[in-house]
Amino acid sequence: MDEAGDFRLKQGFTVPLITLDGEVAGFSIAGEHLEVSPEERGMLSLLATYALGRGIALIDYNPPEAVTELSSRERETLQWVAEGKSEWEIGQLMGISEHGVDKHMRNVRRKLNAVTSTHAVAQGIRGGLIH
């Protein structure tokens, strides 16, 4: 208790909120000196409501899982392609031949239903396989 004062949080107030599931939440605003007019209090309660509403939506959001499985070598190859490396460079980086790079990319294109390597990069980013 009373520790808030050590962090110069001496005055404040809490906006109480109730979610759709009946959970109680509080949104606190504090500072060393807090002069908040009734209008500003109303504004802050709206702000708190939208912040919590958005926060709950983000927690509930499940990104679609990447259904496509790339092997770690295929994923690495695609990542290098996305970095703009040539086949020769990727071969050097991964210690394989250009032919090996081409083979990996052919598998990647097939697995991602991509027509070209550029398309595969786009699909890979969309699916969260590379960044």
Binding site: I18, L20, D21, E39, G42, L46, Y50, L52, G53
Partner: protein
């Protein structure tokens, strides 16, 4: 089920509408203390209960367990005539915008633990189903600010029309809340039922030749 009562079918719901006026009196006057609405006959009726109002009843075995009223924004309504101070900017008006008023539910059917009750859910679903099939996309609401989070979570796109203000002893916030199929899906998910809550399909008035 939700029954929608308009001048066209009100002769079929005389007794139920009487029940609704009495429920309104019990909830708004006796329970919430809006004494200016009190009437000696125990029926809460105001100047907006005219031929333009759309009444929605939640009926269970002939008994009204829930009620709400929709008023067109193109005619006098609460935000325009009673609580204009709640709207700081331009007032939302249009045939696609209606005002939601007098939402009430009989005590045994209310929110327990403050989760939206099945009757509350059905009434809200009633608005969304009615709106989606009659070209209405937005409702004006004057409410306790605590309702705002629930509406946001139900996928209503809400826009405050002003800051919360005291009306009597209550904090009241006016918002517009737009809805779409996502709102309906969310309500259906919560209800665990995907069938319509409306007792009769909406009859869309035929468009007059222009």
């Amino acid at each position: 089920m939700i029954h929608i009562v308009t001048p066209e079918n009100q002769h079929l719901f005389r007794d139920e509408i009487e029940q609704a006026y009495r429920l309104r009196h019990r909830v708004f006057v006796e329970e919430m203390g809006w004494h200016e609405l009190a009437r000696p006959d125990g029926r809460e009726i105001d100047q907006f209960d005219d031929e333009h109002a759309v009444h929605m009843l939640y009926l269970q075995d002939g008994v009204v367990q829930g009620y709400q009223r929709m008023l067109p924004s193109t005619r006098p309504h609460l935000l325009s005539d009673v609580l204009p101070q709640l709207c700081e900017g331009e007032r939302p008006v249009g045939s696609h915008i209606w005002e939601w008023t007098r939402y009430c539910v009989e005590k045994p059917h209310r929110e327990r633990g403050r989760v939206l009750s099945p009757v509350g859910n059905a009434l809200l679903s009633g608005i969304v189903e009615w709106g989606l099939s009659s070209g209405i996309s937005t409702i004006i609401i004057q409410m306790n600010p605590l309702w705002l989070l629930r509406l946001v979570q139900l996928h209503f796109r809400t826009t405050p029309l002003g800051l919360p203000q005291k009306v009597g002893s209550d904090d009241v916030l006016a918002v517009t809340a737009a809805f779409d199929r996502r709102t309906l899906s969310r309500l259906q998910e919560m209800r665990g039922e995907y069938s319509s809550v409306l007792a009769e399909p909406i009859r869309v008035p035929e468009r007059l030749a222009s």
